[in-house]
């Protein structure tokens, strides 16, 4: 099922809600979602309408790449790139299961071929090269395909002089591809070097959760870095650190707010304001050197988005 079909079928499902029949347990569960943070039971449709942000405690749920695109990118504007790329099994890796079987499982769960969706789309009318990672696919892990799709996206952005936006969410490197997954860090960073030297804008958005090789490569290399509230972001995982240093870490360790306090991200932006802030930043960095804008109130976005 490609992206267009997916959006179409979802639209159809929404237009024809069938809730008259008594619900099976499964259906009942799908209808309600419990907030991870405040434990409130939320009506899933309302939660979706609220961009998967708990209306009670503002907890930002993990969302799929396609949901993110639907939320953030202007309707029908998204043109996917490299949709056909999928993983090989260079190591013939087997742990408790062979790698290809795990790949199939991941695809069955996420509906995606790989853990990142890349393409070109408009954000409130501004064209950008956009990459969105999906933690729901193989833990958002970066293997050859994720690295390659990100690299190609960057190259596409550079060739077409587009601003680049990558929404990261990842558990780290794809172990099943061994050293080749590690090399994706070098690959993506190397391509970003050329992109940056060309004077183009890259905004990195960090979402729950972003770890390991993704954080330690393209995700931390944004000209500007935005994090979603509450997102946990780091290089090493909390448990590994606690085992190493043999002490408890602060409760808010590695949250977006903690990183903000430690000068690692430019702003923490609520999901509801994300598109607006991105549009503002794209506008601010577009145009030629010394260009003047006509009004002083271009794309309106309140400063409260940046938490002082």
């Amino acid at each position: 099922m490609d992206l267009k079909e997916w959006f179409a079928s979802r639209q159809k499902r929404r237009d024809n809600p069938e809730v008259k029949q008594p619900l099976t347990t499964e259906e009942y569960c799908a209808l309600w979602t419990q907030c991870f943070q405040c434990r409130e039971l939320l009506y899933t449709r309302d939660l979706r309408g609220n961009l998967f942000v708990c209306p009670k405690c503002q907890y930002h749920f993990r969302i799929s790449a396609l949901d993110r695109i639907e939320q953030m990118v202007d309707e029908e504007s998204f043109q996917e790139l490299d949709a056909g790329l999928c993983s090989a099994d260079p190591l013939q890796f087997v742990d408790t299961d062979p790698y290809p079987k795990r790949q199939e499982e991941a695809t069955r769960k996420s509906g995606l071929k790989e853990a990142v969706v890349t393409g070109v789309g408009k954000i409130l009318g501004r064209t950008a090269a956009i990459g969105v990672m999906d933690f729901g696919h193989f833990g958002g892990s970066m293997g050859s395909v994720v690295g390659e799709k990100v690299a190609r996206l960057i190259e596409h952005a550079q060739k077409n002089k587009l601003p680049l936006i990558i929404i990261s969410s990842s558990g780290g490197a794809r172990m099943q591809e061994g050293i080749l997954s590690l090399m994706q860090m070098a690959k993506t960073s190397s391509v970003l070097k050329s992109f940056s030297d060309a004077g183009l804008l890259y905004i990195s958005v960090l979402t729950e959760p972003t770890y390991g090789g993704v954080t330690a490569s393209f995700a931390m290399l944004g000209d500007l870095i935005i994090a979603e509230p509450g997102a946990r972001i780091g290089f090493a995982g909390r448990r590994v650190i606690e085992q190493t240093i043999r002490q408890k870490l602060p409760a808010d360790f590695q949250t977006a707010e903690y990183l903000f306090k430690h000068g690692q991200v430019d702003m923490v932006v609520e999901r509801v304001k994300l598109a607006e802030v991105l549009a503002h930043l794209i506008d601010f960095h577009s145009g030629k050197r010394g260009d003047k804008v006509q009004t002083t109130q271009a794309s309106g976005v309140k400063t409260s988005a940046s938490r002082a």
């Binding site: 940056s196 004077g199 804008l201 931390m220 000209d223 500007l224 870095i225 903000f260 306090k261 430690h262 000068g263 690692q264 991200v265 430019d266 702003m267 802030v277 503002h280 930043l281 601010f284 960095h285 145009g287 030629k288 050197r289 010394g290 260009d291 003047k292 804008v293 006509q294 002083t296 109130q297 271009a298 794309s299 309106g300 976005v301 309140k302 400063t303 988005a305 940046s306 002082a308």
Partner: protein, 324 residues
């Protein structure tokens, strides 16, 4: 948005004015009963205006210092917010800290998109403490450096607002190499090919001020001061007496007019009568207008010219003689 709705708190040298104001108030109260004193009142008002003007016309250096340090003086955020209600603040040095004493952001000003940088003193006691009373740590200077490099990459002009007693003299500040943080900024600012305009809005204290002050144009608000060392420090070292602050202020030639005459600043920006704290909006406008004018000028130069003009400007500074 911080405001100056509160009545300006008077300074010590303003006491004669206050006394007269009190007298006027007393007379005004009697006006209803004695309509014939209206003429006196008018005269008193005239006197008040006269005194007010003459008072501010012949301020001593230490009076300027007092205005520059006035607790209600507009601070960096007050300007950015008035210039561009939609400005976006950028945070952090990416290496472990976000120094609140240094503010960096993306600001629009009279059609110019700019990278704005400024020291921040903090208004409430809690803020003041967080900001170290406007004294940045090395991390603050490195945050500013990130902003300078951002500006360079995207061809955006840099505007800096300076109001700091100086770089923070602390233990970790030294451990984290305050000297290097300042020195690198001097070096990197000198190398930028985008226009840089600096405005001393309050206190321009020492290397901690200069670290964001190597600009194509250096402007100063009328009551701002700029000096190599705080007058207190100067008095205690040269006069070995804390009482000689006024003498030190005088000797160091640190007021906006004097700095202008020494060729170190390019323009003195007028303040509302009595000082910037009497009218934030007017002050912000005056600064915006001056900055925009200089930016318009500088935007006509090529990148290479912008840099070499800045380098030549500072290369010429100094006063010496050659015995040969």
């Amino acid at each position: 948005m911080a405001n100056n709705d509160r009545k300006p708190v008077p300074l010590e040298f303003e006491q004669p004015l206050l006394a007269l104001a009190a007298q006027i108030e007393t007379v005004e109260k009697q006006l209803a009963d004695n309509p014939d004193i209206e003429e006196d009142l008018t005269r008193l008002h005239e006197q008040y205006e006269l005194l007010r003007r003459s008072l501010y016309a012949k301020l001593r250096p230490i009076d300027h210092l007092a205005i520059a340090r006035h607790p209600q003086r507009p601070y960096t955020r007050d300007y950015f917010e008035r210039w561009d209600p939609n400005w976006l603040e950028l945070h952090g040095d990416r290496k472990g800290a976000d120094d609140p004493a240094m503010v960096t952001g993306l600001v629009q000003l009279a059609g110019h998109k700019l990278v704005a940088v400024g020291t921040q003193k903090g208004r409430s006691l809690k803020d003041k403490q967080a900001c170290n009373f406007g004294m940045p740590q090395p991390e603050g200077y490195r945050k500013a450096l990130r902003a300078f490099h951002h500006a360079q990459k995207f061809g955006l002009p840099v505007v800096t607002l300076i109001d700091t007693p100086g770089a923070y003299p602390g233990m970790t500040a030294e451990e984290h190499n305050q000297s290097e943080a300042i020195a690198i900024n001097l070096l990197e600012l000198a190398g930028l090919t985008v226009p840089v305009v600096a405005v001393v809005t309050g206190e321009g204290g020492s290397g901690g001020a200069l670290a964001i002050g190597v600009a194509n144009r250096v402007l100063m608000l009328e009551h701002a001061v700029y000096s190599t060392i705080s007058p207190e420090g100067c008095a205690s070292i040269l006069w070995r007496s804390a009482d000689k602050v006024s003498e030190a202020c005088q000797a160091m030639k640190m007021t906006a007019r004097e700095i202008f005459h020494l060729g170190v600043s390019d323009e003195v920006i007028e303040e509302p009568l009595g000082g910037a704290h009497h009218d934030y909006a007017l002050t912000a406008n005056n600064v915006a207008a001056a900055v925009a004018r200089h930016l318009d000028d500088l935007c006509k130069l090529t990148p290479a010219q912008v840099r070499s003009a800045r380098q030549s400007k500072f290369r010429r500074m100094g006063s010496m003689q050659d015995a040969h």
